[in-house]
Amino acid sequence: MKTRDARHLMNRRGFLQLVGVTGAAALTSSCNRVRSEAGTPLSPPNLSRFPEKAELILLTDRPPQLETPLHYFRQDLTPNEAFFVRWHLEGIPTSVDLRTFRLNVSGHVQQPLQLSVDDLRSQFEPLSIIAVNQCSGNSRSFFEPRIPGGQWKNGAVGNAKWTGVPVRSILDRAQVKSGAVDVSFAGLDAPPLPSVAAFAKALSIDHARDGEVMVAYAMNDQPLPMVNGFPLRLVVPGWYGTYWVKALANITVLPRAFSNFWTDIAYRIPNAPNGTESPQHLATDTVPINRFNVRSIFVRPEPNEIWHPGVPNEIQGVAFDSGHGITRVEVSADGGTTWADARLDAEIGKYSWRRWRANWTPGKRGQYRLMARAANAIGETQSTEQWNRSGFMWNVIERVDVKVE
């Protein structure tokens, strides 16, 4: 299997990189019990290959929801072919004619626009931002009690270089009238029944005009794959993927607050710290989901990876937040009793994830639980416990079980 070969190669490469590392500090650790839990694959994932995509973990085929296998996160930028896919409605676009496709800008503006992709590429100053896009429900399968919905593990996230035109530049050309409140964004996807709300999301006029929210026509310097939103996708750095409208075709400036199912009822979080509530006491006060919280993800080892006693390994992961910047990641090899700082790779953008590494030479055979917690520049860190009814915003202190034998 292709992915397995790649993993073995990386094992070997990771090992070779570590030969010669000195300065080992031996810390006593207790070897916690390991319980089988969500996130530990009990059976091999079902892989599927969609057009323009690599073999990804198949959650659903219609509409497609495809998860990125962890090994792709060994690269700072997630390849387009491996980037996760999540659509809401069955009627997703499968054909786009660039000769007739137009991005329509309308509503509370002096000058409605119909822009082709060529217009966007040739008539506006391009902007590139490296940014994480993460599904609101990434890691949902780790919540207890379990929650209905896309049963993602950690792969409904990716980091890419997005290139396009700031929404501000487009709105400036359209000349927003005074009194604008929100800007809504809708794509080419269509509901399967008239009773299902068409997918659209909105940002405040100030957010839409912040100079960073952009209409992207390129992802890692290439056109977007169709299932990632070809030809245009809204990029909202630091905010959850629900706002990153795919196959973006309509921008509407509104003189009032936006209202629809996907904002008023769906994609809401408890208005409480970290969006947490309990199954017994569901929050009555909720707000639309918005910025990322702070989280980390283990890249190496992968769940139930087998490492060997006395052999140095590099523990590796990524961490990100909504743009304040990751300043510290701590790692524990004893189930959270003792913690030590991981090394941080150089920052490659405030909305990018940041890679972290720690060396570890397992002593004895057995099961080990590794943990990781990240903190950002304003002191936010990861949760010790968390639950909400929709399974959003998972950021519990990360853990992974590794076998040493």
Partner: protein
């Protein structure tokens, strides 16, 4: 209980070492089937990969009502849920998304979902349907 050598933080990354290669320049996008429009019409064909379902009471109602809008993988990817949780989901499809399902069909569909992917009602199970992702 084990003693492990846990080596962290002993080398601060300078940013000038060979590992600075993890910078912006490292774009590893695979250049497969790029939709660069030589042809201005870009088209894909979506694969369908829908699972088979075992026979059982309610199967016909399930297939008729649910797969109109989505793949049955929406059910098979879920962990086992209680009857009340499945009922919440089916009612959400009917009441919130407007699925054409009668109250009698709701019960038959829930029977089938519980039979293929159900669990007894424990304490603390979610009973309120979620919306969104």
């Amino acid at each position: 209980m084990g003693l492990v050598a846990f080596v962290v933080g002993c080398r601060q990354r300078s940013g000038t070492s060979g590992e600075a290669a993890h910078g912006v320049a490292r774009v590893d996008s695979a250049p497969t089937q790029s939709p660069q429009p030589q042809n201005p019409v870009h088209t894909i064909a979506l694969p369908h990969d829908e699972p088979l379902f075992p026979p059982g009471p309610g199967r016909e109602e399930f297939l008729a009502a649910c797969v109109v809008c989505h793949s049955p993988r929406y059910i098979t990817m879920q962990p086992p849920f209680t009857r009340s949780a499945w009922l919440g989901e089916v009612n959400k499809m009917k009441d919130v998304y407007g699925g054409h399902i009668s109250d009698q069909q709701v019960q038959r569909i829930v029977d089938y979902l519980v039979s293929i992917n159900g669990t007894p009602d424990p304490v603390g199970a979610p009973t309120t349907a979620n919306y969104g992702e």
